[in-house]
């Protein structure tokens, strides 16, 4: 299953990329699953997606919970807590 990942702000800088298209292995079906999949890459990804890191996630531009199910073609954005206004 292919999905689109986006990274914003400090997370984008930390990872050195604004996003990517990714083919997920079978078995990765939730947002929490993607987060763990990214963390397992090691290096900056491991740091950015460790259990302690405050990372918010949006599924198709709506804030979403880790247990949310994903499907092919979804847009999944990870970012730090927002600081606008």
């Amino acid at each position: 299953m292919k999905v689109k990942l986006l990274f914003f702000a400090a997370l984008r800088e930390q990872l050195g990329t604004a996003g990517e298209e990714i083919e997920l292995p079978a078995g990765v079906t939730t947002l929490a699953g993607i987060r763990e999949h990214l963390r397992a890459r090691g290096g900056n990804f491991e740091k950015a997606f460790s259990g302690k890191a405050l990372v918010r996630v949006a599924l198709n531009q709506e804030m979403a919970q880790p247990a949310a199910q994903i499907k092919a073609g979804d847009e999944i954005a990870f970012f730090p807590p927002v600081t606008g206004g």
Partner: protein
């Protein structure tokens, strides 16, 4: 209703006058956020930002009598004294306009996907979210459940 995310500055007076053209409007309450000491760059999640502000405004309309409103948030490079954000609410009476304006501002700070990067003398740094902003937004949830309970 007007929601805009833009690089350009805005004219708060003109925006407020535009909200009071309907003779039924008796109150326009507004908030303008301004850059304090440090130059900054504002990044956002194009698409989601506009949707999220729209949802916040819809929620305000469901709670208070809001006849029209304008929300403008700037992005890109801003310097001290620059305007960042305008929230303006038009209503028949001031109570609804004041409350809706504060509500939208509080929720915008905690839910709309914007991020500030400050250019300090020691280099650039991302602004960290503040617990006090979460508390300001949570207050409205509390007030709603109080109202529902009593």
């Amino acid at each position: 209703m007007k929601i805009a995310v833009q690089r350009e500055d805005f004219d708060a007076g003109a925006e407020m006058r535009a909200l009071s053209r309907d003779p039924k409007v008796g109150a326009v309450a507004s908030f303008v956020g301004v850059v304090r000491d440090v130059p900054m760059t504002l990044e956002h999640y194009a698409g989601m930002t506009e949707r999220e502000i729209g949802k916040i405004v819809d929620e305000a309309k469901s709670r208070w009598q809001v006849m029209d409103c304008t929300v403008i948030h700037r992005i890109g490079d801003l310097k001290p004294t620059d305007q960042i954000v305008l929230v303006a609410m038009a209503s028949e009476h001031r109570g609804d306009a004041f409350a809706a304006c504060e509500f939208v501002m509080d929720y915008l700070k905690t839910r709309a996907p914007f991020w500030k990067r400050e250019q300090t003398a020691d280099g650039a740094r991302w602004v960290e979210a503040r617990a006090s902003d979460d508390q300001a937004a949570d207050r409205w949830r509390q007030e709603k459940s109080d109202a529902a309970g009593g």
